[in-house]
Symmetry: D3
């Protein structure tokens, strides 16, 4: 629970500061990001799996956390999430494993929120 | 057609040489790779979308080509493939765009094979 | 001259196909990209140096070529461009050097266009 | 203020240990690094913008912090720094955004040092 | 001592959870990893140097810590480890230096375990 | 033979142009690079294995080619080189495999030079 709250609180606070700034490109990029994961030709489950696995192979812990939260929200099961992360580890190699550890920890905490 | 044939021919020839070698880890990794994209908790379409987008954000043209071929094979539509690649470009940034160009070119050639 | 023409021709042809597609995110990303390098709080020389060096440390040959063309266009001197690329090599390490070789070759060809 | 002090203290302490070691290549690399950002064909503002944005696209928080400190020191404005970081986010994609959050936080703390 | 214990405790706890999960690919990848660093055509010192330097250029602090522990265990000297890390910094550039700082700190703590 | 000659000829020609330029940082980086792989606390075989595997996980074909040539020159056997590359593929994941294919092809050509 601590991990999830900490992540969300910090993320919201800093996003607010960024949106308050005079950074046109960044604001538009944030805006694009918001729309990219809504339903389109692909459903939102497929899109969140893309977001999760791309975040994992690029080894961005915060991005992984964010998409794990969304994966749970859109109804992906633990087995599906873990299978997707397995593919990401295979693609990205053992260098991804430390991030997988933190992903497993965060996923566990998400179940208690 | 040239692009697709060239890619497949070279890939097969080199894979054969690698499998003929005395490289236990590599052989097992190839073996893992073969099984990773078969149906499991996720269907093969979801898995190919993961393979495609992870390849794109990691900017590996050959991996993108391989998964584009598989995406077509498993019945993903052009709209779905392009939407997935759009998300990958957003995650990976404009640095991905040169790889997107080659992906569009390869996808087009795949339609004529 | 061949290198420069080849690059520009392929880039334009593929960009056109991408813009003709049904890829909303990609189109918006292209649009953002067009506006990012216009004058703002920073002048266009500073922005092109950012584009060039980020492309070099991320080791994207096509991005490097594009920004080398723009660097010449906005009036950056050879000495400035080479110094910037030196910093990029230091930040990104010797792994950047093969891309530096191709950058030097392309810059030379740009002088004869 | 805490963030800035923590960063500088740890960095100085560890740099000292590294320079005390028997690591010839590393020492020369440190030496090269010191000279790379002094005035040359480019002024120090352009060089710090290069250092900052390359650090951001390569997603190195410590490198970003270091160059934010230098950007402030050489007189770059908040608007210029934010615009440069916006370009870096566009080039590197949304995967850069968690690092942008920490960069905004650090920049804010720098104003109170 | 704190750093080493913290790292090992967390790593073991999470590895156990991962091995308890239903993640076939991940388990096989872990299994491959265990065997990869045993003696073969190369001795274990050469293999640990490979593991260490690849971890460093890929900028994975946890992987670096793990291989530093193994480097000490298999009898590599401080001079050898530092020289290998110097080559990694040269290959990967100054972006690797923040990870080198943490590697030096961890190596020092390893001597007191 | 074609691959090896092509690589060496282009590399030498461009290195010469780079060394003729007014790029102090780059020249010093080249100089550092030349000295890094000479015998020190580690022997040259260990150093070339480091160079080869770091190049492979960072997915730089030209760097891989260069170090494959050096590996052969310093007397590493095919079994040793392949085992090292297997570890690199495990660390870096299946995304490395297209580069492994080209490495196998180049190594084969090296035997006929």
């Amino acid at each position: 629970m601590g991990l999830v709250d900490d992540f969300n609180t910090y993320r919201s606070a800093m996003n607010e500061k960024i949106m308050d700034s005079d950074s046109l490109i960044i604001k538009r990029l944030f805006n694009l990001d918001t729309h990219a994961y809504t339903v389109g030709h692909l459903d939102i489950k497929a899109k969140e799996l893309i977001g999760l696995t791309c975040s994992l192979v690029l080894r961005c812990d915060d991005c992984v956390k964010y998409h794990l939260g969304k994966c749970k929200e859109v109804g992906l099961t633990q087995e599906q999430v873990q299978e997707a992360m397995g593919i990401a580890c295979l693609i990205g190699g053992t260098i991804v494993i430390p991030h997988l550890r933190r992903a497993f920890e965060y996923w566990e905490e998400l179940q208690h929120v």
